[in-house]
């Protein structure tokens, strides 16, 4: 399955770029015309992944966050990468309510939100080199609608 379109975005780890990244992802995905609910799902999941890169990956220091979006006829794959701290125990990190930063009033729900709004969430991470979160979602409202593409 080859993507019909692809976009790559690189931005500094500033919290003001969280809104920017999720709007870019939603605008890109809009090309295949998913419904409002599905677009909001993508926006929320991207916001979680990018926020994690900024606060956990780079621990609010300066770094580059990369986002890649691959568009298919009725689906999208979005990867968010940081070259920050990395995750020691991925399984534990993905558990609902697990947070390493309760001091920052984090609730430990980011991965749970990503998993419930997207179909698949994959995490690859290495301590000291960084983390890539790849999320996949099929838009059921789009299926069969874009045969002309």
């Amino acid at each position: 399955m080859n993507p019909i379109n692809e976009v790559k975005l690189e931005f500094v780890s500033k919290s003001s770029n969280e809104a920017f990244a999720r709007v870019v992802a939603a605008a890109f995905v809009s090309q295949i015309d998913p419904n409002i609910e599905e677009l909001a799902d993508v926006k929320t999941a991207v916001s979680e992944a990018v926020t994690n890169a900024i606060i956990h990956g780079y621990e609010n220091k300066v770094g580059l966050v990369k986002m890649t979006c691959k568009l298919y006829e009725d689906a999208v794959e979005i990867s968010v990468t940081d070259e920050g701290k990395g995750i020691e125990d991925i399984e534990k990190a993905r558990e609902p309510m697990f947070t390493s930063r309760p001091d920052m009033e984090r609730s430990g729900m980011g991965f749970t939100v990503m998993e419930s709004f997207m179909d698949k969430v994959e995490v690859v991470s290495e301590v000291g080199s960084g983390t890539t979160v790849t999320m996949f979602k099929t838009f059921s409202s789009v299926r069969g609608k874009n045969n002309a593409l």
């Binding site: 919290s15 929320t44 916001s47 979680e48 926020t51 606060i55 920052m104 009033e105 609730s107 419930s116």
Partner: protein
């Protein structure tokens, strides 16, 4: 994101407007904390009817304020929560700690 604060008796009504994420959470946290320290505030209603986006950062802000108000023997409830935001609240167990009402008036009456 901005926030409008109104006092209704000893209940502080905080109407949030815009997108609540990690970037805007700090500002909302500061505004709420400053107001909640005032002796006129016993209970808090958070009005979500004009919140156009929220991610898990919102849960952190609410949980944090909830803990503070509880220490002062006050209560907290929510109003105007849309389907999507409700889903995130449900995931986090937040609705086991506080109720969500359709309107601000209902939230105040049932406080």
């Amino acid at each position: 994101m901005n926030i409008r604060l109104t006092n209704r008796g000893n209940t502080l009504v905080a109407a949030l407007n815009g997108e609540l994420d990690h970037h805007t959470a700090d500002y909302i946290r500061q505004k709420l904390d400053a107001e909640m320290l005032k002796s006129t505030t016993k209970n808090v209603v958070l009005d979500f009817s004009k919140v156009t986006f929220m991610d898990s950062s919102g849960i952190g802000v609410i949980m944090g304020r909830y803990k503070n108000i509880q220490k002062l023997n006050g209560k907290m409830s929510l109003a105007g929560v849309n389907e999507r935001i409700r889903r995130i609240f449900e995931m986090s167990g937040l609705l086991k700690l506080m109720s969500a009402y359709d309107s601000i008036d209902e939230a105040i009456n049932k406080m």
